[in-house]
Amino acid sequence: MSEILLEARHLTREFPAGKGRMVHAVTDVSLQIREGETLALVGESGCGKSTLGRMLIRLLEPTEGEILFRGTEITGLSAREFRPFRRQMQMIFQDPYASLDPRMSVRSIIAEPLKTWNLCRDREAVTERVLELMEATGVSGEMLHRYPHQFSGGQRQRIGIARAIAAEPSLIVCDEPVSALDVSVQNQILNLLKKLQKTRNLTYLFISHDLSVVRHISDRTAVMFLGKICETGDTETVYTRPRHPYTRFLLNAVPRPDPRRRETGGELLAGELPSPVNPPPGCRFHTRCPFATEECRRTDPPLRETDGRLVACHHPV
């Protein structure tokens, strides 16, 4: 078991929603990311996975809780003290059209981290390094001086990846990196990420709502519901034997690309997502959970070790 790269303890984040009400985006989340692995963060939109991802690399300050990077606490650090850690963590974004500055050429986009951390002696070294990175991410060298508007969605995502790995980080948070792409381009990017993880021993926090992509790329998976983690463990274990009712309904709802195995929709979860402004007391899923009991309504179940993974449920399925 490789040691822990990043650990979060009881992270919470709330946003003001006017008239004194608070949106509980992330509540009391604890998780660990190990060196070299890909941890997936899955859940419906609005469950707080993006907020958690940004908090872990301090693009967003947590309201409560600490974050440890390779054992040292980074939540309390001042901007200057935190700077060396900043270089260790990078991010890849969802929208290929909005994540690249339209006014900068590809060269200056990829060179920006190199210049910020002055990793190259002079201009030629920078250009050379950029060409290397472009080559590594499958973007042709002649397009060095082109501008983002002259590339397709897939190519722009590759440039985003090149920029992220330029500073040689150890952790990359990928926020829905392939959701905006078509399936054929999506597979190319996923293959690229897998290759780079091996060659540059990177660790990924992979945020997505697409369960089939997550199953392929991740080693471990954490499922989030309304700001809390309800189940986390090895991806295969979670996918083959989901023990938290919500995970089961979630996996069940995924439309499998095989016309032969059609559900009759028996185990379909009804109802609406409750509002994060005043989440239900006790277990947040109890209002929609068919197995909810009085105990679920009163106490919020902590993550407990069951059947080789952690589940936050009084009556695991």
Binding site: D182, V183, S212, V213, H216, E236, P255, P257, R260
Partner: protein, 324 residues
């Protein structure tokens, strides 16, 4: 033989641009039988949405339909004038759009917007229209219909708003419902609920033309499927047969890419190259440059649709062959 709900033959839509113009929909033919869900699948920019809009007559200028025929239960929609077409839209022919966030008028309560659809096609009192709206809300599974109908779009969740759109489309019991990626903007659980609703409507006799880029959704919902590439239908056939025995290299590529996601650890299957820019299609078969089987004949001319088995039509000279 029972009357087909929708018959599209050789439909072509073209957009003039300062460089000669391009055709997002190019010689498309497909049929939707009564009570059948036909899927229209393909990657972004393949023309599936444009085909749907052509049927509804909602193509924005400067684009226009430049060829082909669209028969709704025998009536050619392209021959109708503005007024006749308007009397069909929302009545016999309805459409649901992709993004529930922006498809409802933000400053009008949702109930009113549905009532508007009724009052446009049925000579009924306002009170009756109100009753039918609440009735429609309940049919699409909206709880507390009374309270919801008075609220504004921004006060409802994505799923609820899409149900309102469906209620609005179904309130005049249309012969054909066109759904342009209705679940793309929704989460997987909400998507499942909407698909369930679609199945119930199909069982009640509504024919549906369902547009999506998600092969999983097509597999679970559609009886018959057409795969589009660069403005043409590359392959169409019964969904089960298409998924088991795809013959067009592009369909194979797509299905291979999706199914490889389930095989852990291996490298994912991809289709080399990228979708050609609409203005600059390659000569001959549009998929040529990305196809393993491509040879002189493919580069020479664009293959015509061929029926290789009942209901299974493909546009490819080497359909079914396996690259060596």
């Amino acid at each position: 033989m029972e009357q087909n709900t929708l018959e599209i033959s050789h439909l072509t839509v073209s957009f003039p641009t300062d460089r000669g113009g391009f055709r997002p929909v190019n010689d498309v033919s497909l049929t939707v039988r009564k009570g059948q869900i036909v899927g229209l699948v393909g990657e972004s920019g393949c023309g599936k949405s444009m085909t749907a809009r052509a049927v509804m007559g909602l193509i924005r200028s400067p684009g226009k339909v430049t060829g082909g025929q669209i028969l709704l239960e025998g009536k050619d929609l392209l021959a109708l004038n503005g007024k006749e077409m308007r009397s069909l839209r929302g009545n016999e022919l309805a459409m649901v759009f992709q993004d529930p966030m922006t498809s409802l008028n933000p400053v009008v309560p949702v109930g009113k917007q549905v009532e508007e659809a009724i009052l446009l096609h049925r000579r009924v009192s306002r009170e009756e229209a109100r009753k039918r709206t609440l009735e429609a809300f309940r049919n699409v599974g909206i709880s507390e219909a009374e309270k919801r109908s008075r609220s504004y779009p921004h006060e409802l969740s994505g799923g609820l708003r899409q149900r309102v759109m469906i209620a609005m489309a179904m309130v005049c019991c249309p012969r054909l419902l066109i759904a342009d990626e209705p679940t793309t903007a929704l989460d997987v659980i909400m998507e499942a609920q909407i698909l369930q609703l679609m199945r119930q409507m199909r069982d009640r006799g509504t024919s549906i033309l369902f547009i999506s880029h998600n092969l999983g959704v097509i597999a679970q919902l559609c009886d018959y499927t057409c795969v589009m590439y660069a403005g043409r239908i590359a392959e169409q056939g019964d969904t089960r047969e298409l998924f088991e025995r795809p013959v067009h290299p592009y369909t194979r590529g797509l299905l291979g890419a999706v199914s490889s996601l389930d095989r852990k650890g291996e490298e994912l299957e991809t289709i080399r190259g990228s979708v050609p820019a609409p203005g600059s299609l390659p000569a001959g078969c549009p998929f040529g440059p990305r196809c393993g089987l491509c040879d002189e004949t493919c580069r020479g001319a664009c293959p015509e649709p061929r029926e290789i088995s009942p209901g299974h039509i493909v546009r490819c000279f080497h359909a079914g062959e396996v690259p060596v």
